[in-house]
Amino acid sequence: MLYSDLILILVTIGFSLGLYFLAGYAAKALSSKWKLCYVVPFIVCILFAELSGTEISLLGVYIGVALLFVGFIKEDVRIRRMVSVGTIVLTFVSILICLFYPGYRMPNFVSDFKTGFTSMKEHYCMTEHKNIDWDAMYEEYLPKFKEAQKNHDEVENYILWIELCNSMHDGHVAYSADKKIADKAIDKMYGNDYGLSLITLSDGNTVAINVQENSEVYSAGIRNGTVITSWDGKSVDELKSNDIPIEWLPYNPVKENDDFNSAMLVAGMGGDIVSIGFIDENGKEKSVSAPKLGTYSKRLEDTVDILYSGIKASNLTWHDLNENTAVLRLTQMMYDTDSSANSNFSRMKEELKANILEQKEKGIENLIIDLRCNGGGDPGFIIAIAELLSPETEFSYACSALWDANAKEFSYDSESGTYVVGNKVTYTGENVWGDGQIVILVNMATISAGDHFTQLMSALDNVTIMGFTSSNCSGQAIRGVSFESGVLQFSSVPTVHEDGTIYIDPDASRKATVPLDIKIPFDERAVKAIFDDGEDYELQYAEEYLRK
């Protein structure tokens, strides 16, 4: 129970008892000021209502406080005592309701859905670009949220928001809520753990990864890289295309990246025991009945972490890979709060410039920029780095859409389906790095300003973009709307090309707009290196590429 509700209940009982015993004295007392004691519970109740809002389960308390007010009007000892007793009884009824009613202090999911959805519908900046049918979406989700409300199911409410957000195929559309609820929902969404995860290789085979050693599947002979032929009586491909809840795939603007991820979700499907068909080390097809070990979400999280996290180092740190190759780790496009507040990254730029010159003095000729899992940040940061790495000429970054102050929205030309272009952003290269080769490592968790930087760098001849998956391709700026059950964020500030078309974000076809120059093959060698030997395969691949 909420502390403020508990205190209100105790205070109301206290007042009722006090006024019960005061009733006789107040009637005898000459001063009418004693009557005012019957107004005090009402004022206290108002203060509590202001503090934590009203709650239907506390209706008994509210009626009780109103009853006490009768004692102010009726100066009859019997009536005053009766209302005190009545208030105590009603308050105890309220206690029981608060303890056992599942909807106690539960947010109104339907109202929250309407608030969040309406805000997103009004301000989302890629409705036409991504061909979003808001009315259909509303019709689809409203009954679901009503059902969650009816069942007072906050976990289902969370899952519905995740589904809705991911169905937009925009890495900037996200919902967040209380961590406990989120954890429960994620456990429910991703199913059971059977001791392994799955992934589809570049050749189309689906193999086991992240296999738990002391599990049934391990005892049966399944190892990292073992080809899985069926899952719970169906082929993995069939499950991937028909059965997995595709809306639960994170990082999903690009269709091709979804395909890379989807087998991971299959590994959580099934009941208490799941039958897994696989090819053993002798090439024979076998199967194993694997019991569930717990919830799959932890293994999934671990698998995603192994695959996507990149070098585990701080932002803007340098690492020597070999005598002529260095790695610059960029986890986010942020430096410090001062720089972000003033959008002035000159100090960071000076430091980075000194670092680059130092690396060059050491004989470093090749640079790998590790952008994997880069969470984005400030465009000013990107420009500062891009200036250091680009030749001495002017480059076009992107354009802002024109803000219409009267309409309170960015000007959109519905005839051409493009935004009216506002300011154009350019930058001039300083060629500090020179002609040395640069490899940029990305993955589907390289998002937002990470996408922007990848896009800018892809224009340079000496830059190669590589990774297992392309970058996320979500390049618009965001706003958030908060309501009782959580916070929704979505793309609301358009960044556009010079012709007013959307910058970076893919349209409804979901093709990568910041494509890879080299898609690193995800094969048996990669599985072994990553999951058996704990190596950073993508980094090794980039190093090998630069050697050649």
Binding site: A401, G422, N423, A477
Partner: protein
């Protein structure tokens, strides 16, 4: 009743304190306004002032109805005019409601003048602007009359309990400041259960900021001024119900009270 109202209006015309307080609060509003204009540099649109800067000054202007109500309702307890009115055949209901009505009308009108005067001046000098529409501002100012009336009702009740204008003014202001602090400290989303938080709800314009890629352009603040039907109804319902209850409670108390 008519005679009582006339007598009160005559007293009001002669009351220097009310005029001084009215002018002082109005001057404060304009002093603040001049500060805001010089801070903004290139003039200040009326809508920008309403949406982003007027809230604190509106709170300060509520000093006027407190003084006004204290003097109208409590002034006649000091020189026993209320006792004489009773002895001359007027009922307690007439005595109470004549003063309450004058407090409600005079307090609300005076406060509205204080609140709207800077807006009118800015509209004439710099224009309205685009932050919020005139209609949205009018709706909010019209609705604001209700919590102001509610606060006056609370003051009327309080005055009839303490029966001293200066004690009323001092203690009402303390209660007012405490409820303001309470609202700001504890109320997560301004609600309608206190008069002051209702005013907070009406003077706080939900906003979000947007910006463009070009960081040389200032951040754009967008106000969402439209109130939902639920908000409007809750403001009306809570203000009328709670204000009415305080007015009734004050009357019941005065009706049974000994005037000494």
């Amino acid at each position: 009743m008519k005679d009582l109202i006339k007598a009160q209006l005559y007293q009001l015309r002669k009351s220097r304190l009310i005029i001084i307080v009215f002018i002082a609060v109005l001057l404060l509003q304009f002093t603040n306004l001049i500060g805001e204009i010089s801070y903004s540099g290139n003039g200040l649109y009326a809508s920008t002032y309403i949406a982003g800067m007027s809230q604190d000054m509106i709170f300060f202007s509520l000093f006027f109805p407190i003084v006004f109500t204290g003097l109208v309702c409590g002034g006649d307890f000091l020189d026993r005019t209320a006792n004489y009115e009773l002895m001359s055949g007027h009922t307690r209901r007439q005595i109470y409601f004549c003063r309450a009505i004058i407090s409600l009308v005079g307090g609300a009108v005076g406060t509205l003048i204080i609140i709207t005067a800077p807006v009118v001046v800015l509209s004439v000098v710099y224009g309205w602007g685009t932050d919020i529409s005139v209609k949205e501002a009018v709706i909010r100012y019209a609705l604001m009359i209700l919590p102001i009336l509610r606060i006056i009702c609370e003051c009327v009740f309080f005055t009839y309990v303490v029966k001293n204008p200066y004690l009323t003014m001092a203690s009402s202001y303390i209660v007012y400041v405490l409820s303001l602090s309470y609202g700001e400290l504890f109320s997560k989303n301004a609600s309608v259960f206190l008069g002051i938080t209702t005013i907070m709800k009406l003077t706080k314009y939900e906003s979000w900021s947007t910006y463009t890629l070009d960081n040389t352009v200032d951040m754009i603040k967008v106000y969402e001024a439209t109130l939902s039907a639920g908000d409007i109804l809750s403001v009306i319902f809570a203000s009328v119900m709670i204000g009415g209850l305080f007015l009734f409670t004050g009357y019941r108390y005065f009706h049974e009270d000994d005037l000494n």
